[in-house]
Protein backbone atom coordinates (compact mmCIF):
# COMPACT_ATOMS: atom_id res chain seq x y z
CA UNK A 1 0.00 0.00 0.00
CA UNK A 2 2.02 2.92 -1.26
CA UNK A 3 0.68 6.39 -0.66
CA UNK A 4 0.62 9.23 -3.20
CA UNK A 5 4.16 10.30 -2.51
CA UNK A 6 5.60 6.85 -1.96
CA UNK A 7 5.15 6.91 1.80
CA UNK A 8 4.56 3.43 3.13
CA UNK A 9 2.36 3.23 6.21
CA UNK A 10 3.90 -0.01 7.41
CA UNK A 11 7.44 1.39 7.30
CA UNK A 12 6.99 2.94 10.74
CA UNK A 13 6.44 -0.48 12.29
CA UNK A 14 9.73 -1.62 10.83
CA UNK A 15 11.77 1.24 12.20
CA UNK A 16 11.80 -0.03 15.74
CA UNK A 17 13.06 -3.56 15.00
CA UNK A 18 15.65 -1.96 12.75
CA UNK A 19 16.83 0.32 15.54
CA UNK A 20 16.81 -2.51 18.07
CA UNK A 21 18.97 -4.62 15.81
CA UNK A 22 21.19 -1.71 14.73
CA UNK A 23 20.50 -2.59 11.12
CA UNK A 24 22.30 -5.91 11.23
CA UNK A 25 21.48 -8.59 8.71
CA UNK A 26 19.81 -11.85 9.57
CA UNK A 27 22.07 -14.50 11.05
CA UNK A 28 22.38 -17.87 9.41
CA UNK A 29 19.11 -19.57 10.23
CA UNK A 30 20.74 -22.88 11.01
CA UNK A 31 22.83 -21.29 13.76
CA UNK A 32 19.81 -20.05 15.61
CA UNK A 33 17.01 -22.43 14.76
CA UNK A 34 13.72 -22.32 16.66
CA UNK A 35 14.96 -25.03 19.01
CA UNK A 36 18.60 -24.05 19.43
CA UNK A 37 19.13 -23.81 23.20
CA UNK A 38 20.69 -20.63 24.50
CA UNK A 39 22.27 -19.64 27.81
CA UNK A 40 24.46 -16.81 29.12
CA UNK A 41 28.22 -17.42 28.96
CA UNK A 42 30.60 -17.19 31.88
CA UNK A 43 31.62 -13.59 32.60
CA UNK A 44 35.24 -14.14 31.53
CA UNK A 45 34.17 -15.26 28.06
CA UNK A 46 32.54 -11.92 27.33
CA UNK A 47 34.16 -9.25 25.24
CA UNK A 48 33.51 -5.88 26.80
CA UNK A 49 31.03 -4.12 24.54
CA UNK A 50 28.14 -1.82 25.10
CA UNK A 51 24.90 -3.79 24.98
CA UNK A 52 21.63 -2.28 23.82
CA UNK A 53 18.79 -2.41 26.38
CA UNK A 54 17.21 -5.17 24.30
CA UNK A 55 20.40 -7.22 24.23
CA UNK A 56 20.73 -6.65 27.97
CA UNK A 57 17.18 -7.87 28.47
CA UNK A 58 17.78 -11.05 26.46
CA UNK A 59 21.01 -11.68 28.32
CA UNK A 60 19.20 -11.39 31.65
CA UNK A 61 16.54 -13.80 30.47
CA UNK A 62 19.21 -16.34 29.52
CA UNK A 63 21.17 -15.98 32.74
CA UNK A 64 19.21 -18.43 34.86
CA UNK A 65 19.34 -21.42 32.53
CA UNK A 66 18.72 -22.65 29.00
CA UNK A 67 15.85 -21.55 26.79
CA UNK A 68 15.17 -22.29 23.13
CA UNK A 69 15.23 -19.42 20.63
CA UNK A 70 11.45 -19.87 20.26
CA UNK A 71 10.94 -19.58 24.03
CA UNK A 72 13.04 -16.43 24.16
CA UNK A 73 10.81 -14.92 21.48
CA UNK A 74 7.71 -16.13 23.31
CA UNK A 75 8.72 -14.66 26.66
CA UNK A 76 9.95 -11.31 25.29
CA UNK A 77 7.24 -10.86 22.64
CA UNK A 78 9.90 -9.80 20.17
CA UNK A 79 9.40 -11.09 16.62
CA UNK A 80 11.51 -14.14 15.93
CA UNK A 81 13.64 -12.36 13.34
CA UNK A 82 14.56 -9.67 15.84
CA UNK A 83 15.40 -12.22 18.52
CA UNK A 84 17.69 -14.03 16.10
CA UNK A 85 19.58 -10.86 15.26
CA UNK A 86 19.95 -9.84 18.90
CA UNK A 87 21.15 -13.32 19.86
CA UNK A 88 23.61 -13.40 16.98
CA UNK A 89 25.07 -10.16 18.25
CA UNK A 90 25.27 -11.52 21.81
CA UNK A 91 26.97 -14.66 20.51
CA UNK A 92 29.47 -12.58 18.60
CA UNK A 93 30.43 -10.75 21.79
CA UNK A 94 30.75 -14.03 23.71
CA UNK A 95 27.76 -13.23 25.92
CA UNK A 96 25.71 -16.29 25.13
CA UNK A 97 26.49 -19.82 24.05
CA UNK A 98 24.23 -22.24 22.24
CA UNK A 99 23.45 -25.92 22.03
CA UNK A 100 22.40 -26.70 18.47
CA UNK A 101 19.51 -29.12 17.90
CA UNK A 102 19.96 -32.61 16.55
CA UNK A 103 21.71 -32.37 13.18
CA UNK A 104 19.36 -32.97 10.22
CA UNK A 105 21.39 -36.01 9.19
CA UNK A 106 20.71 -37.62 12.55
CA UNK A 107 16.97 -36.96 12.64
CA UNK A 108 16.13 -40.48 11.56
CA UNK A 109 18.51 -41.95 14.13
CA UNK A 110 16.91 -44.87 15.90
CA UNK A 111 18.64 -43.86 19.10
CA UNK A 112 16.92 -40.49 19.28
CA UNK A 113 13.51 -41.80 18.24
CA UNK A 114 13.75 -44.64 20.75
CA UNK A 115 14.62 -42.20 23.48
CA UNK A 116 11.60 -40.05 22.61
CA UNK A 117 9.34 -43.10 22.46
CA UNK A 118 10.54 -44.43 25.81
CA UNK A 119 10.23 -41.00 27.37
CA UNK A 120 6.63 -40.63 26.21
CA UNK A 121 5.77 -44.09 27.51
CA UNK A 122 7.41 -43.44 30.86
CA UNK A 123 5.55 -40.18 31.30
CA UNK A 124 2.12 -41.04 30.03
CA UNK A 125 1.98 -44.84 30.30
Amino acid sequence: MTGRDGWEPEAAELVRPYVITKGRGLPDEDDLSLITLVTASAEDARRPTRLSPEEQSLLELCSAGYLSVAEIAGHTHFPLGVVRILLASLMEGGYVTTRPPVAPARLADREILEEVLNGLRAKFG
Binding site: L37, P53, G119
Partner: protein, 197 residues
Protein backbone atom coordinates in the same frame (compact mmCIF):
# COMPACT_ATOMS: atom_id res chain seq x y z
CA UNK B 1 10.79 -3.41 26.83
CA UNK B 2 14.23 -3.27 28.36
CA UNK B 3 13.74 -5.40 31.44
CA UNK B 4 13.52 -9.13 31.09
CA UNK B 5 10.34 -10.94 32.10
CA UNK B 6 11.07 -12.79 35.32
CA UNK B 7 10.91 -16.51 34.89
CA UNK B 8 10.76 -19.33 37.40
CA UNK B 9 13.12 -22.27 37.54
CA UNK B 10 10.52 -24.48 35.84
CA UNK B 11 10.51 -22.19 32.80
CA UNK B 12 14.08 -23.16 31.93
CA UNK B 13 15.06 -26.37 30.17
CA UNK B 14 15.82 -28.93 32.87
CA UNK B 15 19.44 -30.05 32.66
CA UNK B 16 19.95 -27.71 29.71
CA UNK B 17 23.73 -28.15 29.69
CA UNK B 18 23.36 -31.74 28.47
CA UNK B 19 20.18 -31.36 26.45
CA UNK B 20 19.64 -31.55 22.73
CA UNK B 21 16.33 -30.38 21.34
CA UNK B 22 14.10 -32.10 18.82
CA UNK B 23 10.73 -31.00 17.51
CA UNK B 24 7.51 -32.42 16.21
CA UNK B 25 4.92 -30.35 14.39
CA UNK B 26 1.25 -30.42 15.30
CA UNK B 27 -0.56 -29.25 12.21
CA UNK B 28 -4.14 -28.90 11.10
CA UNK B 29 -6.72 -26.50 9.82
CA UNK B 30 -8.28 -23.64 11.76
CA UNK B 31 -9.70 -24.54 15.19
CA UNK B 32 -9.03 -28.28 14.84
CA UNK B 33 -7.45 -28.46 18.31
CA UNK B 34 -3.71 -27.86 17.78
CA UNK B 35 -3.25 -25.49 20.71
CA UNK B 36 -5.39 -27.69 22.93
CA UNK B 37 -3.29 -30.78 22.15
CA UNK B 38 -0.02 -28.96 22.74
CA UNK B 39 -1.34 -27.53 26.01
CA UNK B 40 -2.45 -30.94 27.26
CA UNK B 41 1.05 -32.41 26.86
CA UNK B 42 3.35 -29.44 27.45
CA UNK B 43 5.14 -28.94 30.77
CA UNK B 44 5.13 -25.18 30.21
CA UNK B 45 2.20 -22.90 29.51
CA UNK B 46 2.10 -22.85 25.68
CA UNK B 47 3.94 -19.86 24.26
CA UNK B 48 3.63 -18.17 20.92
CA UNK B 49 6.01 -16.32 18.68
CA UNK B 50 5.49 -13.89 15.90
CA UNK B 51 7.20 -13.84 12.57
CA UNK B 52 7.27 -11.12 10.00
CA UNK B 53 5.53 -12.09 6.83
CA UNK B 54 7.07 -10.44 3.84
CA UNK B 55 5.59 -12.19 0.86
CA UNK B 56 3.07 -10.62 -1.50
CA UNK B 57 -0.31 -10.09 0.01
CA UNK B 58 -2.65 -11.19 -2.74
CA UNK B 59 -3.18 -14.54 -1.05
CA UNK B 60 -4.22 -12.79 2.14
CA UNK B 61 -7.95 -13.01 2.05
CA UNK B 62 -9.57 -13.61 5.37
CA UNK B 63 -7.23 -11.85 7.77
CA UNK B 64 -9.05 -8.69 8.71
CA UNK B 65 -7.19 -5.47 8.17
CA UNK B 66 -4.07 -6.80 6.54
CA UNK B 67 -5.23 -6.35 2.97
CA UNK B 68 -2.62 -4.65 0.87
CA UNK B 69 0.09 -4.75 3.51
CA UNK B 70 3.33 -6.39 2.63
CA UNK B 71 4.25 -7.00 6.24
CA UNK B 72 2.33 -8.46 9.11
CA UNK B 73 2.96 -10.93 11.85
CA UNK B 74 1.70 -14.44 12.34
CA UNK B 75 1.75 -16.47 15.49
CA UNK B 76 2.77 -20.05 15.96
CA UNK B 77 2.38 -21.67 19.31
CA UNK B 78 4.47 -24.29 20.98
CA UNK B 79 5.04 -26.31 24.11
CA UNK B 80 7.87 -28.31 25.64
CA UNK B 81 8.31 -31.77 27.09
CA UNK B 82 11.52 -32.93 28.75
CA UNK B 83 12.00 -36.49 27.56
CA UNK B 84 15.18 -37.36 29.45
CA UNK B 85 18.37 -35.67 30.57
CA UNK B 86 19.56 -35.79 26.95
CA UNK B 87 16.51 -34.98 24.86
CA UNK B 88 13.95 -32.21 25.14
CA UNK B 89 10.99 -32.28 22.77
CA UNK B 90 9.26 -29.18 21.43
CA UNK B 91 5.80 -29.32 19.88
CA UNK B 92 5.01 -26.60 17.37
CA UNK B 93 1.46 -25.81 16.35
CA UNK B 94 1.35 -24.70 12.76
CA UNK B 95 -1.62 -23.29 10.89
CA UNK B 96 -2.29 -25.04 7.63
CA UNK B 97 -2.55 -22.03 5.37
CA UNK B 98 -0.35 -21.88 2.32
CA UNK B 99 0.49 -18.24 2.87
CA UNK B 100 2.68 -18.87 5.88
CA UNK B 101 5.46 -20.16 3.65
CA UNK B 102 8.36 -18.63 5.52
CA UNK B 103 7.10 -19.95 8.82
CA UNK B 104 6.57 -23.40 7.39
CA UNK B 105 10.14 -23.55 6.17
CA UNK B 106 11.33 -22.56 9.62
CA UNK B 107 9.14 -25.12 11.31
CA UNK B 108 9.70 -28.00 8.93
CA UNK B 109 13.49 -27.73 8.90
CA UNK B 110 14.82 -30.28 11.35
CA UNK B 111 11.45 -31.66 12.47
CA UNK B 112 11.21 -35.36 13.35
CA UNK B 113 7.75 -35.52 11.82
CA UNK B 114 4.24 -34.16 12.09
CA UNK B 115 1.01 -35.06 13.79
CA UNK B 116 -1.84 -34.00 11.52
CA UNK B 117 -5.01 -33.20 13.44
CA UNK B 118 -8.13 -33.89 11.46
CA UNK B 119 -11.80 -33.17 12.10
CA UNK B 120 -13.79 -35.94 10.38
CA UNK B 121 -16.67 -33.52 9.81
CA UNK B 122 -14.42 -31.14 7.87
CA UNK B 123 -12.15 -33.48 5.94
CA UNK B 124 -11.75 -31.20 2.93
CA UNK B 125 -10.18 -28.56 5.18
CA UNK B 126 -7.33 -30.98 5.80
CA UNK B 127 -6.35 -31.41 2.15
CA UNK B 128 -4.15 -28.30 1.92
CA UNK B 129 -2.52 -29.17 5.25
CA UNK B 130 -1.54 -32.63 4.08
CA UNK B 131 -0.32 -31.19 0.78
CA UNK B 132 1.98 -28.85 2.69
CA UNK B 133 3.32 -31.61 4.91
CA UNK B 134 4.11 -33.72 1.88
CA UNK B 135 5.62 -30.74 0.09
CA UNK B 136 8.12 -30.34 2.93
CA UNK B 137 8.84 -34.06 2.91
CA UNK B 138 7.71 -34.66 6.48
CA UNK B 139 6.60 -38.05 7.75
CA UNK B 140 3.23 -37.87 9.48
CA UNK B 141 0.47 -39.65 11.32
CA UNK B 142 -3.20 -38.66 11.35
CA UNK B 143 -4.92 -37.93 14.65
CA UNK B 144 -8.67 -37.69 14.29
CA UNK B 145 -9.87 -35.22 16.90
CA UNK B 146 -13.33 -36.41 17.78
CA UNK B 147 -15.17 -33.50 19.22
CA UNK B 148 -18.10 -35.66 20.28
CA UNK B 149 -15.91 -38.43 21.65
CA UNK B 150 -17.54 -41.04 19.43
CA UNK B 151 -15.36 -43.75 17.91
CA UNK B 152 -14.28 -43.30 14.30
CA UNK B 153 -16.87 -45.24 12.35
CA UNK B 154 -15.28 -45.54 8.96
CA UNK B 155 -11.50 -45.41 8.89
CA UNK B 156 -11.40 -46.74 5.35
CA UNK B 157 -13.53 -43.90 4.02
CA UNK B 158 -11.34 -41.41 5.85
CA UNK B 159 -8.18 -42.97 4.41
CA UNK B 160 -9.66 -42.80 0.96
CA UNK B 161 -10.83 -39.23 1.34
CA UNK B 162 -7.41 -38.11 2.56
CA UNK B 163 -5.63 -40.33 0.03
CA UNK B 164 -3.36 -41.86 2.67
CA UNK B 165 -0.72 -44.52 2.16
CA UNK B 166 -1.63 -47.89 3.65
CA UNK B 167 0.94 -47.63 6.39
CA UNK B 168 0.16 -44.06 7.47
CA UNK B 169 -1.14 -44.41 11.03
CA UNK B 170 -4.62 -43.13 11.85
CA UNK B 171 -5.57 -42.73 15.51
CA UNK B 172 -8.43 -41.01 17.25
CA UNK B 173 -7.77 -38.62 20.06
CA UNK B 174 -9.30 -36.10 22.39
CA UNK B 175 -6.93 -33.19 22.28
CA UNK B 176 -8.08 -32.04 25.74
CA UNK B 177 -6.93 -35.27 27.32
CA UNK B 178 -3.25 -35.61 28.21
CA UNK B 179 -3.11 -39.39 27.84
CA UNK B 180 -5.07 -39.41 24.62
CA UNK B 181 -2.86 -36.71 23.10
CA UNK B 182 0.27 -38.49 24.26
CA UNK B 183 -0.96 -41.75 22.75
CA UNK B 184 -1.37 -40.02 19.37
CA UNK B 185 2.14 -38.66 19.64
CA UNK B 186 3.47 -42.08 20.63
CA UNK B 187 1.84 -43.59 17.55
CA UNK B 188 3.64 -41.05 15.38
CA UNK B 189 7.03 -41.69 16.98
CA UNK B 190 6.62 -45.47 16.73
CA UNK B 191 5.81 -45.02 13.05
CA UNK B 192 8.89 -42.82 12.55
CA UNK B 193 10.94 -45.53 14.22
CA UNK B 194 9.45 -48.21 11.95
CA UNK B 195 10.37 -46.10 8.95
CA UNK B 196 14.05 -46.26 9.88
CA UNK B 197 14.18 -50.05 9.67
Amino acid sequence: MGSAPSLGEQDYVRGGATQTAVKILVVGHFAVGKTTLIGSISEIEPLSTEETMTQAAEAVDDLKGVQGKTTTTVAMDFGRLTISDRVVLYLFGTPGQQRFVQMWEDMARGALGALVLVDPERLADSFPVIDLIEHYGLEYAIAVNHFDGAPLRDERALREALDLLDDTPVVTCDARDEKSSAAALTTLVRYLLDRTR
